[in-house]
Amino acid sequence: MNKMQKALRELAEMDELAAQNSIIHRLCPTAKLLATVLYIAVVLSFGKYQLSGLAVLLLWPVLLFQLSGIPVHICFYKLRIVLPLVLAVGLFNPFFDRAILLRLGPLAVSGGFISMLTLMLKGLLCLMASFLLMATTNFDSLCASLRKLHIPGMLVTLLLLTYRYVGVMTEELAVMTEAYSLRAPGQKGLQVSAWGSFLGQLLLRSMDRAQELYASMLLRGYHEHFHYAPMKPFGPGDVVYLALSALFFLVLRFVPAAQLLGNLLLR
C-alpha cells in the first residue's frame, strides 16, 4: 500500500467515524467547534512546569471518547505525526534546564524533564481534542457552521470543493504511483527524468477537469452561493454542553485540582 492509499484510508475512516450516531455526534457542530478551540486554548495556556494542573484536563477527552464510542487507537495512530516534532523541540529541555524541581526519594527530577513531559502531554491533549471534533462531526455540517461563524463564503466553498477533490486526486495519483512503481521495479520513488511530467500530466488534465467542473456547477444553478448541509439548530442541549465544558476548563485552569486532591489524600 503506498502513501496515498494510506491517506485515502485515513480519510474514509474519519468519514465513517463521523457518520456514527451518539450524544456527541448529535450536538450542533458550532458548539463542538467552540468547545474544542476553548479546550486547546486552555491547555496551551498552562505554564511549562504545570504538569499536574494539565493532567486533570485529560478527563474531558476521556469522557468524550466514552460518550461518543470512538475508538482511541485511531487517535493514537495519528500521534506518529505530532510526537516527533514535539519531541524534537522538547527533548533538549532536560539538557538545558537542570535545576532540580522535585525530589522523589533518591530520584531528583529536573525542571527540563518536567517541561518536556508537559510539552508531550499538551501535544496529546490537543490532538485528542481536535481528533474528537473531526471524528464526531460531519465535514459538510462543520463547513456550514464555519459559515455561521462568519468565515468568508469563498474560503468555505473552496474548503468543501477541495475536500471533495482531495479524494479524487489522491486516488488518481495513487493509481499513477502504483503503475509507475510496477514499471520501475526495485526503484525507490520517482526518477529525475519523470519529475516534471508525472505531476505535470495530471496537472494539465486537472485544469481541464476544473473547467468541466465549473460548467457542471453552472448547469446545476450555481450562482456565487453554495448550499451547505442542513444546519442543526443550536438547541438547549448544545448550550448545556458548551456551558459545562467551559466551566470545567476554566475551573481547572485556575484551581489546582490535582494538588488539592493529593493534599486531601496525604493528610
Binding site: 505554564g47 512546569y49 504538569l51 481536535s130 516534471g196 496525604l266
Partner: protein, 356 residues
C-alpha cells in the same frame, strides 16, 4: 514544518491567526474584485492536486533519499499569489483536520510560515521579477525563459523555506516552550531547510517547466509578450540579481549560524538581556505582524512562562506541592480509567439489550 499545537502559547497562536487572517481577508477582497467565479473550481482542483502531490516521493539522484514538493510556489505560479494563498490555506486546513498534521490552534502560524511566504514573498520578490527580467538573454527566447523559471523556482523555494523555518524558531521561542537558545535552534533548523528548499525548488521547477512547455498560458506572472518588453525592465533584472544576492547571503548566514550560533544571536538581537518582546518588535518590521499584538504576546508570555520559573526554582514548598500534585494526578488517572470502564460497561449492556 507543520507545527503542533503544543509548540505555541495561546497568545502567539492568536497573533499568528490575526496575521494570516488579515492576509486571507486581503486576498479574498482582491479576488472578489477580479470577479472570476470560474477560478474557484480551478483553485479547488489545484489545491487537491498539490495535496496529493506532496505525498509523491522524488528520488534525489546520487543519494538514497527522497524529496517532496512544496506547494506554495507552485500554486502561486499557476494561480497567482492571492488564489494560491487561499488554496494553500485550504490544504493546510485539511491536513490539520483530517491528518493531525499541524494543530488547530497552530493553523494560523502554519499558514503564515508555509503559505504566506511561499505565495506572497516568493511571488512578488522573486518569481515575477525574475520571470519578467532580461536575465539569460543570450540563450534565446525559450532557453532564457526556461532558465528563469528554474532560477525563480529554486531561489523562491530556498528563500521561503528559510523564512518559514526562521518563523518556526521565533514562534516556538516566543512561546517559551523550549529551553534551546535561539541561536542553537536556528543552527538546527536553517541548514536543514536550506537543503530541503533546494530540492523542493528543483522539483517545483521540473513541474513548472513541463507546464511551460505544454501550456505556457497557464503560468501566472509570465511577461505578456516576449519581444515587446520595454527597456526599463532592466530595473527588474537588477532587483532579481539583488534578490539572488540576498539569498546567497541568507544561505551563508545560515551556514555561519551552524558554526557560531551565539554570533548569530548576538548579531540579530543585540544581547541576551533584551527581552523577547524586543525581538518580536524587530521581527514585526520585517514580517508585518501588528506591533500591539506582538507586544502583548511578549508581555503575556513573560507572565505565563517566566513567573512559574522564578516561583518554582529551588523553593522547598514548591517541591512539597509537587508531590501532592503527583498523587492528585494519579487519582485523576484512576478517575479516567473508571470513566473508561463505565463507558465500556454501558456499551456492552446496550449491545446485549439489542441482541435480546
Amino acid at each position: 514544518m507543520h507545527m503542533a499545537d503544543a509548540l505555541l502559547a495561546p497568545t502567539v497562536a492568536a497573533a499568528m491567526y490575526v496575521a494570516s487572517g488579515t492576509a486571507a481577508g486581503v486576498s479574498i477582497h482582491k479576488l472578489r474584485k477580479e470577479d472570476a467565479p470560474q477560478k474557484l473550481p480551478v483553485m479547488a482542483v489545484s489545491a487537491a492536486l498539490v495535496f496529493a502531490g506532496q505525498m509523491i516521493n522524488y528520488t534525489i539522484p546520487g543519494t538514497g533519499s527522497s524529496g517532496h514538493m512544496c506547494g506554495g510556489m507552485l500554486l502561486s505560479a499557476l494561480l497567482g499569489p492571492q488564489a494560491g494563498f487561499l488554496s494553500m490555506i485550504v490544504i493546510l486546513t485539511i491536513q490539520c483536520l483530517f491528518f493531525a498534521d499541524g494543530g488547530l490552534m497552530a493553523l494560523g502560524a502554519n499558514i503564515w510560515n508555509m503559505a504566506f511566504y511561499g505565495c506572497f514573498v516568493g511571488y512578488y520578490l522573486l518569481w515575477r521579477p525574475i520571470l519578467r527580467s532580461r536575465l539569460f538573454k543570450g540563450l534565446g527566447v525559450k532557453g532564457a525563459q526556461r532558465s528563469r523559471i528554474i532560477l525563480a523556482s529554486v531561489a523562491g523555494c530556498v528563500l521561503t523555506l528559510q523564512l518559514g523555518a526562521f518563523s518556526v524558531v521565533l514562534e516556538t521561542s516566543l512561546s517559551g516552550i523550549t529551553d534551546l537558545p535561539l541561536g542553537a535552534f536556528c543552527a538546527l533548523m536553517q541548514p536543514i531547510h536550506l537543503a530541503i528548499g533546494l530540492i523542493e525548488g528543483l522539483i517545483t521547477a521540473a513541474v513548472l517547466l513541463f507546464v511551460y512547455e505544454s501550456r505556457p498560458e497557464l503560468l501566472s506572472g509570465l511577461s505578456p509578450a516576449e519581444d515587446s518588453l520595454p527597456a526599463k525592465r532592466s530595473l527588474k533584472a537588477t532587483v532579481a540579481i539583488l534578490a539572488v544576492l540576498v539569498l546567497m547571503v541568507g544561505g551563508g548566514l545560515s551556514l555561519l549560524a551552524s558554526s557560531n550560533p551565539d554570533g548569530l544571536e548576538w548579531a540579530l538581537f543585540g544581547n541576551a538581556d533584551a527581552g523577547y518582546s524586543e525581538n518580536m518588535g524587530l521581527d514585526e518590521e520585517n514580517f508585518g505582524v501588528s506591533s500591539a499584538a506582538a507586544e502583548k504576546a511578549g508581555a503575556v508570555q513573560e507572565v505565563t512562562s517566566f513567573l512559574p520559573d522564578y516561583a518554582f526554582q529551588g523553593s522547598d514548598s514548591a517541591a512539597g506541592t509537587s508531590v501532592s500534585g503527583i498523587v492528585g494526578s494519579a487519582m485523576v488517572a484512576g478517575a479516567a480509567v473508571l470513566i473508561c470502564l463505565a463507558g465500556g460497561f454501558f456499551r456492552r449492556r446496550k449491545a446485549n439489550s439489542h441482541k435480546h
